[in-house]
Symmetry: C2
Subunit: 195 residues, 2 copies
Amino acid sequence: MMKTDVKQKILREGARLVHRKGFHATGIAEVVKAAGVPKGSFYFYFDSKEAFGLELIDTYARVIGESARIYLLDESRGTVERIRGFFGSFVDFLQGNDFRDGCPIGNLCQEMADTSEPFRKKLETVMGTLQLNLADVVSEGQKRGEISTDLDSEATADFLLSGWQGTLLQMKVKKSRESYGAFEALMFDRVLKPV
Amino acid sequence: MMKTDVKQKILREGARLVHRKGFHATGIAEVVKAAGVPKGSFYFYFDSKEAFGLELIDTYARVIGESARIYLLDESRGTVERIRGFFGSFVDFLQGNDFRDGCPIGNLCQEMADTSEPFRKKLETVMGTLQLNLADVVSEGQKRGEISTDLDSEATADFLLSGWQGTLLQMKVKKSRESYGAFEALMFDRVLKPV
């Protein structure tokens, strides 16, 4: 294997395990075993478990960024439909997985924000980028007359993210998409809708 | 000490530690040390760490239920002010604590819902009770003309909980009450407001 392949394998299996089990509960031995690489190779690529965790955040952020690109920047659709597609596609994915695991970034925020300042800062940046992406779509929707113009786009994006993260939490505990139904009805048909 | 005192001490220190560190990261040895009781006494009161965790959920639910009673059932205030007081008082508490820890029930939902079915069921019940309490206030607000009558009270209560839990997550990662500002502006002044 090429060196970069080894690193990518470690990150890929690490991302899967940490998404499922959390960062603390995932052991390095488990990650290298799943990746099928020698244990020593882990410390060749990562100075510490924390350094590995910080690269995992990049891995998750890339996946979310790609989804944001596909849905939020799809100019063939209206702005509300783009936001709906972005969240809805993830709900469909979760439902196929019995609503397990949730959002890998949200999970790490919950688990790590109070424990590690480097994690917290990096997670804050990822959430901030997503908030900016959503705020841009809200602004565009306001120009197009699809979203109420009396909303502050940044506060609305912030509220979209809060509603979304809380909905993920509730779907996880209820094992049902019911809370997403409430989110859709109230967020799209009431909050965003032009008055 | 009376036997019940020992058990209450274990639960009180356990609740504090698990709120701060999470369930998996909190060891039984640490709990009994903090409680100042012999290690053996833990297994006199709890069959397992899981049984202890399930009683912790009751402990947290009692605190939340007490706060719900104080704020949500305060008939001297309008219904929206009651909901605002319920959430706002907790935000004030969190702010005094650098937005650490968040909601003990929300944290356990995140950490345990996929890992332990007894935890998941019990957490779902606690969230369901809070949702019902909120739905009752929404219904009452609708009768009093304080909350828009074209809202479904249960879906609105569900959405209140999602928005709230996500706001807690964002405050934890941003170390700021900014997201609660967005929550207040959009939830109270837009979603609940009579049209």
